[in-house]
């Protein structure tokens, strides 16, 4: 496998043809995606045309951009003009948007080549990609296990070597958790850092697009390409985009790193070296976070301390209520966002005697079980007589989360926690909704606050499966977050390659 950096610099220098690079990756997809099912659609023809255009540009002495010839996979909830955008739902099967998402435009403008659209939990609602209407994606590290979700297809595509880069969306952890389970890097940027225009909405005040990559440097490269103000998204932040890659080599000396107490209760409980103390009142320690995972987080903290960071423990009490608040607000927004799938303008229609019946039958047939459950949950949370007790209260918890993070960031530059409470689990193992929802315990708080967070592979846990450590930072704090992530990557024990990559690799020696 080759990194996005290596491909782009080779293609720009004329040392490799984008078309050859593409064929290598298409070959891997051809060989292995039958097992993995990372893709809903492989856009081979369109990709060949795009790669040829990149090659032509190079031939003419033009620079195709920082992602010249880099194949990229887009989660199938990102609008791509004329290319099916399904959200892995029967409801939108075959729907071809008349426009590209802003991030799709940005990646293409930077020279990236769309190689396909990746599988997800239907409308991004899930943590395992088991809720796709088109069948689950398998974890390249163990085909009997889930890749995480909802961006499981994008994570698996990068982990399996089908594309050096992929984009996903993260509403409650949907980039970071699958990145963790697949042993790769995944970033959820600050809410508003990356335009949401063209991302099919799940929960608008949480949704944020971000990159997957095999290493921190590639992820930072992609993040730089998709970041920036977009006048088409009112929640887009009008802030300059820093040079993210410059942050990678800065070193962690002097950085203050806080390990979130509530999310690292089991396993080793001792304070790490030389912390500036505990911020805030100690909250209850959440159980359900596996010891092997917590242990890796403490090792990561130690590694940062060894590299010169100041490490301490920090309490962020509101994270213990995050899951509950999230599972009221996000479905509430989703119930409204998904009302438009009514059989009138696009997507599925099941005919009825009148419009109302057509709506009901269409939505019955078009949505899967989990989507229906969340729409109804959200409808209930907003309905007359329940708004204050559910939606209203959850929004106040959201403010508490904001305040608790603000307090923590008064003492620390970045925070650490597990990304996922567990390593990749087997299909069907978390069928109960609350059990599944708990996969998001550690990732949800950053969606409530809107702050950036990312997952970096750091060793293995039970049964040799990858463990991800989550690095959290305050709003627009992607630079210190990436600095710490790069330091962790340097200190991480080597990760066994997914078994797939030991099968004949057409990119080898290319």
């Amino acid at each position: 496998m080759t990194s996005a950096h290596a491909i782009a610099s080779d293609v720009r220098a004329g040392a490799r043809r984008a078309s050859d690079v593409l064929e290598d990756f298409l070959g891997r997809i051809e060989m292995h995606d039958g097992d993995v099912h990372a893709f809903n659609t492989v856009t081979a023809d369109q990709a060949r045309a795009a790669a040829a255009a990149i090659d032509a540009a190079v031939d003419e002495g033009r620079d195709p951009g920082p992602l010249a010839g880099v194949p990229v996979a887009f989660k199938d909830n990102l609008c791509t003009r004329g290319v099916a955008t399904t959200c892995s739902s029967r409801m939108l099967e075959g729907w071809q948007p008349p426009y590209d998402a802003t991030v799709v435009q940005a990646m293409t403008a930077a020279g990236a080549v769309m190689i396909g659209k990746t599988n997800l939990d239907e409308f991004a609602m899930g943590s395992s990609t088991e809720h796709s209407a088109f069948g689950p994606t398998r974890n390249p590290h163990d085909l009997a296990r889930v890749p995480g979700g909802s961006s499981g297809g994008s994570a698996a595509a990068v982990a399996a070597g089908f594309a050096p880069l992929a984009l996903g969306s993260d509403t409650g952890g949907s980039i970071r958790q699958p990145a963790s389970l697949c042993g790769i890097v995944g970033i959820k940027p600050t809410y508003g850092r990356v335009s949401r225009y063209g991302l099919v909405a799940f929960a608008s005040s949480f949704d944020q697009i971000g990159p997957f990559a095999a290493d921190v440097a590639d992820a930072a490269l992609a993040l730089g390409v998709i970041s920036g103000h977009d006048p088409a998204d009112s929640t887009s932040i009008p802030a300059a985009v820093p040079d993210f890659e410059a942050a990678l080599g800065r070193g962690v000396e002097g950085l203050r790193v806080g390990v979130i107490s509530e999310l690292t209760g089991s396993g080793r409980n001792g304070a790490a070296t030389g912390g500036p103390g505990t911020a805030g009142a100690a909250g209850e320690v959440l159980d359900g976070i596996d010891a092997d995972v917590t242990e890796r987080v403490h090792e990561a903290a130690d590694a940062l301390a060894d590299a010169g960071a100041t490490v301490g423990r920090v309490s962020v009490p509101a994270v213990t209520y995050g899951l509950t608040a999230y599972y009221l607000i996000a479905p509430a927004e989703a119930s409204s966002n998904l009302a438009r799938y009514d059989g009138t303008r696009y997507g599925l229609r099941v005919d009825g005697a009148d419009v109302e019946e057509m709506n009901r039958l269409t939505r019955r047939a078009g949505f899967g079980d989990e989507v229906k459950a969340r729409i109804m949950l959200g409808t209930f949370a907003l309905s007359a007589g329940y708004y204050d007790a559910y939606y209203g209260k959850a929004q106040r918890v959201r403010m508490l989360t904001r305040r608790d993070f603000d307090a923590a960031y008064a003492d620390f530059d970045v925070l650490l926690s597990p990304t996922s409470p567990c390593v990749a689990f087997r299909f069907g193992e978390r069928a109960d909704p609350m059990t599944m929802y708990r996969c998001d315990t550690c990732t949800i708080p950053s969606n409530l606050s809107g702050d950036p967070a990312m997952s970096v592979p750091f060793g293995i846990g039970a049964e040799g499966l990858p463990v991800g450590v989550q690095v959290l930072a305050p709003a627009l704090g992607e630079e210190p977050m990436l600095t710490v992530a790069a330091a962790l990557e340097r200190a991480a024990p080597p990760l066994p390659a997914p078994p797939l990559s030991t099968v004949a690799d057409p990119t080898e020696g290319a």
Partner: protein
């Protein structure tokens, strides 16, 4: 809340009507259980004193975001209608609309 009866099957049926999702009686029972387990969990918020905590709707504090009143180009009608379940004469076609006079 918190006693396992956070939502009744009648409430689920009502919510399904509001959300325009056709459900069988069996499905109503299924979702009563599903929603009940989540709402039961929400009972933990009951004990929180949030009287002095204002609600937070937006994760990043922006205000006054506008566009100028300048027309852009519309989408291609044929491209859009080609994706519609039914269209006629440049319009989207639906079954009869009952209820309120338009």
């Amino acid at each position: 809340m918190g006693d396992g009866t956070a939502i009744s099957s009648e409430q689920v049926a009502h919510v399904a009507r509001l959300a325009r999702i056709e459900l069988t009686p069996d499905e109503i029972e299924h979702y009563t259980g599903h929603l009940g387990r989540v709402l039961e969990h929400a009972g933990e918020l009951e004990d929180l004193d949030l009287a002095d905590v204002p609600p937070l709707a937006h994760p990043y504090p922006l205000s006054n975001v506008f566009r100028d009143d300048v027309a852009g180009s519309p989408v291609d009608r044929d491209e859009v209608l080609s994706q519609a379940p039914a269209a006629s004469g440049g319009q989207f076609e639906v079954p009869p609309v009952l209820g309120e006079e338009a």
